[in-house]
């Protein structure tokens, strides 16, 4: 599945995730500037952020977008360095596995805090 996807399609996904992430990360950063930087990172404030469902949803979307963009970028760099059927497969599947792992780990934090499991 991974190796069969055309590189032109993958690059469109790479650019699309980048543009969407820029917009959403800007909102994420601006949330830190609504108060003083240190104040915005206080425990109660951060918990309140996570428990506000639209914001938690946005964090989840950012997590997915940046994981796809980041690990595809890493894949591109690694494929520039070396080529070969087995190597390319290992890099592609390795990056997809790492991407899924990071999304799962980040989602666990978002879901648990959002549901008050802290």
């Amino acid at each position: 599945m991974v190796s069969k996807m055309r590189e032109s399609v993958i690059m469109k996904i790479h650019y699309g995730t980048a543009l969407a992430a820029v917009a959403l990360v800007a909102v994420h950063v601006l949330m830190r500037l609504t108060q003083s930087f240190a104040e915005s990172l206080e425990y109660a404030n951060v918990i309140a952020n996570y428990q506000f469902l639209p914001y938690a949803g946005m964090l989840e979307i950012i997590l997915i977008l940046l994981s796809i963009h980041g690990f595809n970028g890493l894949r591109v760099i690694l494929l520039e360095l070396k080529q070969g059927r087995a190597y390319e497969k290992a890099v592609s599947y390795g990056c997809v596995a790492a991407m899924i792992g990071l999304i799962a780990y980040g989602s666990r934090t978002i879901i648990m805090v959002n549901m008050g499991m802290v």
Binding site: A18, E80, L102, Y105, M112
Partner: protein
Amino acid sequence: MTKQDENKEGIGGMINPRRYGIERVAYLLMRLSGLGLLAYFIGHIYETSSILKGEVGWGEFLELTQTNEGHAVLAIVIAMCVFHTVNGIRVMLGHGGVGVGKPARPDYPYLPASQNARHKIGIYSAIVLAAIAMMYGLAVMYGE
């Protein structure tokens, strides 16, 4: 076939910013900032998971980042983020054919139409904006 015959220089060739001008420097900075941002992103996901340990766990981890070294790292991350974004938009526009010049007969001295002033200005703008954002980030972090 030797490595030289294959024209492969490996990592050394990839990280060599010389020979091809500012475009090559942008190529290197784009990859370095991308790898740096991916490392920061993974660290950020791990860091924020400390909130699951409660107020004490969150406070302990936050203390590590609220130091001069932590602020310096975050300032570099801001610079990498702005450079990667601005240069990335330039690259996307270039891939879409924007600002790369019109096709023409190749005449001596064979100046590549795509490596024109517009794209060079884009690269220098990305570097300047990254520096400005880094200074602004430091001012915010130190509460100026």
